[in-house]
């Protein structure tokens, strides 16, 4: 982990870091990564992947159920307007979806 990588990750997360913060967080992130890296040292040669398998027919049937009320949906929204969640700031255009 170097400052350049951290800056890149911060940018992807839309977080702005000052130079001092970069200075401070880079070694901290390095420690976190090193700890996680410990997992890589475990020998798993004889262990099968443990992700569960399901058969196709076990999947959920396509039956709709009631959703939350609009009031409940908006309960945690800091800003709202006419039933919409309101987000301040410029987000780059309406064309980013999927």
């Amino acid at each position: 982990m170097d400052k350049k990588t951290l800056k890149h990750i911060a940018k992807l997360s839309r977080i702005t870091l000052t130079d001092e913060e970069l200075e401070k967080f880079t070694p901290q992130m390095e420690t976190i990564l090193d700890s996680a890296m410990l997992l890589q040292t475990v020998n798993t040669d004889s262990v099968n992947p443990m992700k569960r398998h399901v058969s196709f027919l076990e999947l959920r049937e396509d039956t709709p159920k009631d959703s939350l009320s609009q009031e409940d949906v908006l309960k945690n929204a800091k800003y709202k307007e006419k039933g919409f969640v309101k987000v301040y700031g410029k987000i780059f255009g309406s064309l980013e979806e999927s």
């Binding site: 992807l12 398998h53 027919l57 009320s69 919409f84 309101k86």
Partner: protein, 503 residues
């Protein structure tokens, strides 16, 4: 758009909203169009912590069905992945999608190129994912803000990625239109582009002829040629805009290169009103989505029995139907295209044909049914903005009309007038035909006796005609017209006269 110096290379990404009843990973209802915002939302599609996704069986079936219909290989296991990006329309901070192992891969469909020849477009992959929320952007004074409606968040979305072997704007338009036709035939989606149920995003580049090659579905330079960067166009709202946007982009790129400018990889938006693409952002680096396997969804096994069951939903697709119409009914290429354009028209045609075939030779009945549907019916339906279906035009009545026309009881003009009257004034077609047929029969009877009178009272003209003076017939027809006060059909009168005089 043919250019002697450059080849045009296009890949098309198409997103299709599946028409399931519930969302991809939760049970919220999908039909959000014109609904109150944020009323089709639950903890899963709102991305609340701890909420777990549960895949929708039907959605995956529809994705597999599309793969089968487009000649793809189908995976034996379904793996979902997380695609991360940070944006208000994506409440979880990632979209559940598929990365390394799409459900369907390596397929192809045929289109008809501009010269009428078949052209095969490769399909790189078809995968299942979920839609994002809808955001609209506003400004108030100096404040910019967006309003978010999560009803669309989590609606099943199928992404179809073509291989970059589309070589013209025309081919791209035909390909998009064929995909739309197939998903509609299979009832996978209504694919209404205006409602956002289908979205097309072309990737376009131009390369000097002979300096690039297509290897394993990817473009590589030959020798020390450096490939030109591509641009991606978004916000295309109709099939015809696919063609227009690409044509614009190709011309823009060629003129920039010819002016000595350097192209950059970029995303552009199509502005339908101005008829041009507008720069949105440059893409200097590859997107960094930090894909990872979705830990909350198990691996889903697809057995051959599943594939078999889903294949049972395949219907005769437009190309097969067209072939059959051409072979069985000897219909023209154009007629076949029109009749197979959508399933409701081809079903209407086939049901009408079944009725007519009881009284007519099948090939002749097919030609006749096709002529009436693609000609008169289409023209009235377009004028009046009505759908051609059983409610508006009962097939039994239309068949009755066609048979009366074929039996020459009704003239083409009369039959068309009846059809128009029925549709425009919402009158019962069958009753109108019965009335017209009675009138016509009565007229024929009247005509018969008038002709007898004319023959009896014009012995000189009759003798002249029988002795070979053909032109006398004109005089006799004139007499008939006069006696019927102009109501008789002169052609019919002529034929009947000749028949009687020769008989």
């Amino acid at each position: 758009m043919e250019n002697t110096k450059y080849d045009v290379i296009i890949g098309l990404e198409i997103h299709i909203q599946s028409n399931t009843q519930s969302k991809m990973f939760c049970t919220c209802p999908t039909h959000y169009f014109e609904k109150e915002p944020n009323t089709h939302v639950c903890p899963v599609c709102l991305g609340l912590p701890g909420a777990l996704p549960i895949p929708n069986k039907r959605a995956i079936e529809l994705c597999i069905l599309l793969g089968i219909a487009t000649n793809c290989d189908i995976e034996k296991e379904i793996h979902f992945d997380r695609k991360h990006y940070f944006y208000p329309d994506l409440p979880k901070g990632y979209q559940i999608s598929q990365y390394k192992r799409p459900i369907c891969s390596d397929g192809h469909i045929d289109i008809k190129d501009k010269d009428g020849k078949k052209y095969e477009i490769g399909i790189e992959r078809i995968h299942q994912e979920e839609d994002v929320a809808k955001s609209t952007h506003h400004t108030e004074g100096n404040t910019e803000y967006s309003l978010i409606d999560y009803n669309k968040s989590g609606v099943p979305l199928i992404e179809i990625v073509s291989k970059p072997n589309i070589r013209s704007a025309y081919q791209a338009k035909e390909y998009a239109s064929k995909i739309r036709q197939i998903v509609r035939y299979l009832n996978i989606s209504d694919a209404d582009m205006e409602k956002g149920q289908m979205r097309c995003e072309p990737n376009i580049s131009i390369q000097e002829k002979g300096k690039w090659q297509l290897v394993d579905g990817k473009i590589f330079p030959i020798g020390d040629y450096i490939l030109n960067p591509k641009s991606e166009v978004k916000n295309i709202g109709s099939i015809s805009a696919v063609e227009k946007a690409i044509e614009f982009e190709v011309e823009r790129m060629i003129s920039e290169i010819e002016d000595g400018k350097t192209l950059i990889q970029q995303t552009r938006g199509w502005d339908a009103n101005k008829g041009k693409t507008i720069f949105q952002r440059s893409k200097e680096t590859a997107d960094d989505y930090r894909y990872m396997p979705e830990p909350d969804i198990p691996i889903i096994e697809i057995g051959s029995e599943d594939i078999e069951r889903i294949s049972g939903e395949l219907v005769e697709l437009p190309d097969e139907k067209k072939d059959r119409y051409q072979k069985t009914y000897s219909l023209s290429d154009y007629d076949c295209d029109v009749l197979t354009a959508n399933l409701s028209i081809s079903n209407y045609f086939e049901e009408l044909l079944a009725i007519l075939s009881k009284d007519m030779d099948t090939v002749k009945a097919a030609k006749s049914a096709s002529n009436w549907i693609t000609g008169t019916l289409f023209s009235i339906a377009n004028d009046k903005k009505i759908d051609i279906n059983q409610d508006n035009i009962p097939k039994e009545s239309l068949a009755y009309l066609i048979l009366e026309f074929e039996k020459k009881i009704l003239t083409k003009n009369k039959a068309e007038a009846i059809l128009r009257e029925s549709l425009e004034q919402k009158k019962d077609l069958k009753e109108l035909i019965q009335k017209a047929t009675q009138e016509s029969t009565q007229n024929t009877k009247n005509l018969d006796s008038i002709i007898d009178d004319v023959i009896n009272n014009n012995s000189k003209a009759v003798t002249d005609f029988k002795s070979g003076k053909q032109s006398t017939i004109g005089f006799l027809v004139g007499q008939v017209m006069q006696k019927s006060n102009g109501s008789a059909d002169p052609n019919k009168a002529r034929l009947l006269l000749i028949e009687k005089l020769n008989g």
